[in-house]
Structures are given as structure tokens and as C-alpha cells.
Amino acid sequence: MTSKISRRAFLKGSITAAGSVVATTGIAKAAKSITHTKKEPLATLLDISKCIGCEECVFACKESNANKYPNPKKPFPKMYPTRVPVEDWSDKRDVTDRLTPYNWLFIQHASATVNGEEIELTIPRRCMHCDNPPCVKLCPWGALKQEENGLSRIDSNICLGGSKCKKACPWDVPQRQTGTGLYLDLLPALAGNGAMFKCDRCYNKLEKGEVPACIEACPEDVQTIGPRSEILKKAHALAKEMGGYIYGEHENGGTSTIYVSPVPFEQLSNSIEKGKGKPHLNKVKDMMADGTNLAKAMIVAPIAGLAAAFGKFYLSSKEDK
């Protein structure tokens, strides 16, 4: 039986009065916790069981970040070779069902069976803000940065739009807009292709001790922000309480976006619509692990060189005698 638990209608009605009080209290607590912990990275906890898919967070994100969105110049410069794709979202700014340069957060829909009953779940999706973000670490121009509070963001004034960050991202999160950014002032025909855009976890609001727009706007208190260790504790307690599952704690070596769901994430990942701008919920290995291990091995390199030089010297001295 499909009881489309229309949590949206039910919950939205029942929380209208109490919601604002709870949310305000929650936000006040969150704001307090983020100002107290500048050194420990911040993480967000997303309780999927609470999300009603109302898209309040999506529109709050759009409104709060509108000044960061690209305003490309048209016509775009001709790019060579012709295989270079033009990616233009500037006429589709209202799209909210996937990630775009103008939509950094969207709601994914999943169906799942809990206790024999089919339910619909809605999942806010955006950048996971990895602990060791490949997008930041592998950008050849340093156009991305990771801040000590754990967020990673793109400096769209420096980004050349090569889209390497998107290819390096296990969830293909960053999205490209052609016709904007630094490449226009360099060699627009031969190098670069716009700039990349993604959630920056409202770094400007965090700097002021405020919480990100999506958290502030949520009528259901789906998201909680705080020091990562505390968020993980809360996530585990919540998962235990609901007999649920956690996503984001170990994915790609750990992220600052921790989802808790009453349904296994394999089931959710099978159910959600995936594709361009619609990330999966699969397990992700630590993409930077091999590089980190080789970096450690690099310490051996000078020792090996030194040993070889002394070995050769010792042998030639022995020969001379």
C-alpha cells in the first residue's frame, strides 16, 4: 500500500505555530555554537526523517546567494576546438530540481519501504564539504579554498571553468556557467570556459556569526550546525534512536555533511533520480587517500638518495683501497 505520507501537508500545518519558536531557538543555539568553535571544523546534520520537501531551504539559498550568481556576457566568445561545451544556465535560473550555477541546493525525492509501508522521503542535496576536498586540493589554479571551519568554496573571480573540480568531486557537485570569469580576460578562445559554482555554506553569513540561509529558513529544523565532533555524536544518537543510518561520516574520507535516515542509503540511492546535477548517495572511498599515502612515502625519497650516494662512495672507496 502506498500511503503517500504527505508529511508536507501534515507537518507543515502542525508546526506553523510552534515551528517558528523551535526554529528560532535552534538557530540561536546553532549561532552560539558556531561562534564558540572557530578552530574545530563545523559540520551540518541533516535529519532526513524531518524533511517535508517544502523547498524553503532552496529558495532561501537562492535569495541569500543571488549576489554571487554569474551574470555572463553574451554572445559568448567562440571557443576552440569545437568540442568545448558551452554551458549556459543564465536563461534557466529558476530551475530548482537539480544543481546548477544558479541553484546550489535542491530536494531529491526517494521512495522507501519502512515496516512494510511505502513512504516518500525528501533529501536536501548540496555540496558535502569534504574534510579533505579533492575539488580544492586538485584545482590547478588555487581557485578553490577550504576554510578552517571546514567549508570549501570556489572563488569565481579566479576560476577558469575547466571543470576539473566537478570531475574530481565524487558527487559531481560544482556546476559550470560559460561566459563569465577570468578566462574572458585571458585567452577565451583557447583556454577556460567560464566559472564553476557550488554551495559555499554561506561563508559570509558564518563570518558574521550567522547560520547558513538553508538552516535558518527550514521550518522543520532538518539541519543542525555545530562542531563536527558534536554533530557526529548527535548523528549517532539520532541514528540509534530511530534505528537509522548515517551518510557522510566516512564518505570520501569524511565530510562535514552528515545525513541521518530511517532507511538504508543504498535503498535511497537506488530510488533517487541520479544524473547530471543530481548526485548519488552511494558509498564513496577516500579519493585523496592514494595521494596522501604517497606523500608519506615521499619522506623516504631523500633517504633513499642519500643511502645510494653513500653506498656508492663506500664501494668506490673500498675499490680504491
Partner: protein, 148 residues
Amino acid sequence: MRTTGKTRKYIYSITLFFIALSGFAQMPVFKRYYIADIPGLGWLAKFYMTHIMHYIAAIVLIAFVIYVLFDFILNKSGLNTITRIGYFKILVLAGLIVSGLLMVVKNLPNIYFNHNAIIFLDLFHLSFCMILLGVSFYALVKKKSWVS
């Protein structure tokens, strides 16, 4: 085993070739310009693979440079044997290695470099590479050696 000058030259040239190739592959250019479409070169468009290759080539290069440096010191070859172009290449190579090592540190987990520092490191590293390749090509054409 005695390492001859010729063997050294081969090791250095092959390492320099692979470190430069995997280094340029850090930029998304090989796919754009069809080079990764050439059979056998598809890996040039795989960023994690070229990242690993670059690190491996860096390990070989650092080990080799330290070996040559200490071999030179232990043999008391004398600083006056190094040519002007040799000194220049040593300086550029040192800049390349130091900037590269800092970038390796930057890529470790829980390491936060200043954003401007990252941009400068990227630019310095690329510049040192371009200069080294240019000087090496010049030295090859003009048949100029590291030592006299």
C-alpha cells in the same frame, strides 16, 4: 653498481619527461585538445591517475637529486666545475622541488594554507617548470652541460 653519467642522464630525462607530462595533465587541457584521445594516452585525462603519477615521478626526482648532490659532495668534485647554466638549472630545480613539496603538504588532510599562498605556489611551480624545460631545451640544443 657504478652509475655512469649516461645512465644518470637517462634517468633524469625520463623522470623530467614524466613529471612534466603528469604535471601539465593537472590542467584540463589534454582532453580539450584531443591528446587524451590518442590510443594509449587516455590516462592523461584521468586526474587522479595523473596526480598519483606526478607524485611517483616526484619521489624518483627527489631521490635522484639528493643522490647526485651527495655524490657530488662526497667526490669533492669542486663547485668551480659547475657551469653557469648548471647553477641556473640547480636553482630552478630547487625552486620546483620546494614549491612542489609545499603543494604536497597543502594536499594533506587537515592542512589549511592561506588562499593567496596556494595561488602563488601554483603559479611559482608552473613557472619553475616552464623555465626548467626552456633551459633544458636550450642546453640540449647548444650542447651545454651541467659541469665543465
